[in-house]
């Protein structure tokens, strides 16, 4: 029960709602970092995953890259890059992108590979060009899986962007790190609640995007 008390104490303190250390500021900072990292990861992961999946080549190389990316410790990379490059956004973005690219890459590849070959053959038989096959047949069918890869990447980014606060940046992690050093439990618990809430909101956003973007025929089949 005491955790609920801490949550209540944190959110009912009006001092937490204003200024540069207020919840709105930290919230948008957190969303800013997360969206930026997700955008970089998608720009890197999606095209490579789609192309390798479409041509069915390079699956082993992709698995190697994904394993290497997962193997790099996120927190270690953050501290190391901050020591080497100094204070900026780069030491935060690189580990987040390294964290998020493997799930996007691997899931996109597998999504394209698992498309039923017969509609693709039919499209080719109808004389569709390769690019139209890709965009009008394969991608719509593969979309649900591709979205699930993006979703797990986004959730990992949102919960990991918290550690940006360790090297002096903002975001919701500030409450957790500052609370730890100040021995202020309500801050830590409040920050953790906000991050978890944001991750849940991310889930909801992806669910909505899936409802909206996935064609009804594909959804029914899944």
């Amino acid at each position: 029960m005491n955790i609920l008390n801490f949550v209540h104490a944190f959110f009912s303190d009006s001092a937490h709602w204003h200024g540069y250390d207020g919840i709105p500021t930290r919230f948008w900072e957190h969303i800013g970092y997360s969206l930026e990292a997700l955008a970089y990861s998608a720009v890197i992961g999606l095209p490579i995953g789609v192309l390798t999946g479409h041509y069915g080549r390079g699956g082993n190389a992709l698995a190697l890259i994904a394993t290497a990316g997962r193997a790099l410790p996120t927190f270690g990379l953050l501290v190391l890059l901050t020591i080497l490059l100094g204070f900026s956004l780069v030491p935060v973005m690189v580990p987040l992108v390294v964290l998020a690219v493997p799930p996007i890459l691997v899931t996109t590849y597998e999504a394209l590979r698992s498309v039923d070959p017969s509609p693709v053959d039919a499209a080719r038989g109808m004389g569709m060009s390769e690019s139209r096959i890709l965009f009008q047949v394969e991608l719509p069918v593969a979309l649900p899986l591709i979205l699930s890869g993006l979703r797990s990447a986004a959730i990992q980014i949102v919960s990991t962007a918290t550690i940006a606060a360790y090297v002096g940046l903002g975001g919701l992690g500030r409450y957790i790190i500052d609370g730890l050093y100040q021995r202020s439990y309500e801050k830590v618990v409040g920050g953790a609640t906000l991050v978890a809430g944001l991750a849940l909101a991310t889930l909801a956003v992806f669910w909505a995007v899936g409802r909206f973007a996935v064609s009804p025929g594909v959804r029914r089949g899944a």
């Binding site: 927190f75 190391l80 020591i83 730890l180 953790a192 978890a196 849940l200």
Partner: protein
């Protein structure tokens, strides 16, 4: 100039000692996660309606940032290894439960029917037919869980130097010895890759009937 493997004495461990500690803090949670997720996954296979809510709960738990998770637990388990290992075990469930459920569900119904016809009971059918066929999917899940667990242990540094190799990151900062951070990152990456390779080997030993070509993932 102090050397690359010259570990500051405040960590009270040699380089190899830190590696041992790191592996223990990373691997025990995955093992516990596997033992817990096997029955959960079996229930999800048995009762289909259970799967979506279980998936939802584990996804929500996964969204709790590890650092916050550690701090919640300090209240109960103190600044100890256990505090680091409990969240890691919970995170591994998120990867392992779906992997096992998908693996067990992928067993063809004809195979199950054949096993039943041969007179196998539910328990023997599970251990001798379903589980072995699900091994590749389970190992795939274990690989992801193990590798991310090895990376996450280092965050334990923030709660009173419980991060094994991650503690080197803090020492790199306070003693101005960046080579310690390089050492920590490289060692953790090497451990992760070796653990991954070991699991691939385990899969080959456990599934002699599979083609030898490496599959994606």
């Amino acid at each position: 100039m102090s050397g690359f493997f010259d570990i500051p004495s405040d960590l009270q461990h040699s380089y190899l000692g830190l590696i041992g500690l790191h592996l223990r803090e990373a691997l025990i949670p995955v093992l516990v996660g596997l033992l817990v997720s096997l029955p959960i996954a079996q229930l999800c296979v048995r009762f289909r309606w259970l799967y979506p809510p279980v998936l939802g709960v584990t996804t929500v738990l996964y969204a709790v940032p590890s650092l916050a998770f550690f701090v919640f637990l300090i209240d109960y388990t103190g600044q100890s290894e256990t505090t680091v290992m409990i969240p890691l075990a919970v995170y591994s469930l998120v990867v392992l439960v779906p992997a096992i459920v998908d693996g067990v569900r992928s067993v063809p119904p004809e195979t199950l029917a054949a096993a039943t016809a041969m007179g196998l009971g539910a328990v023997r059918r599970y251990f001798q037919v379903q589980l072995p066929i699900a091994v590749p999917a389970i190992i795939a899940g274990l690989r992801v869980a193990t590798v991310s667990s090895i990376s996450l242990v280092s965050i334990g540094m923030l709660i009173g130097n419980q991060g094994a190799l991650g503690n080197l990151l803090n020492d790199a900062n306070i003693y101005h010895r960046p080579e310690l951070a390089v050492n920590a990152v490289l060692t953790m990456a090497a451990l992760a890759i070796l653990a991954d390779a070991a699991l691939v080997l385990v899969r080959r030993v456990l599934t002699p009937w599979m083609p030898r070509k490496g599959a994606a993932r």
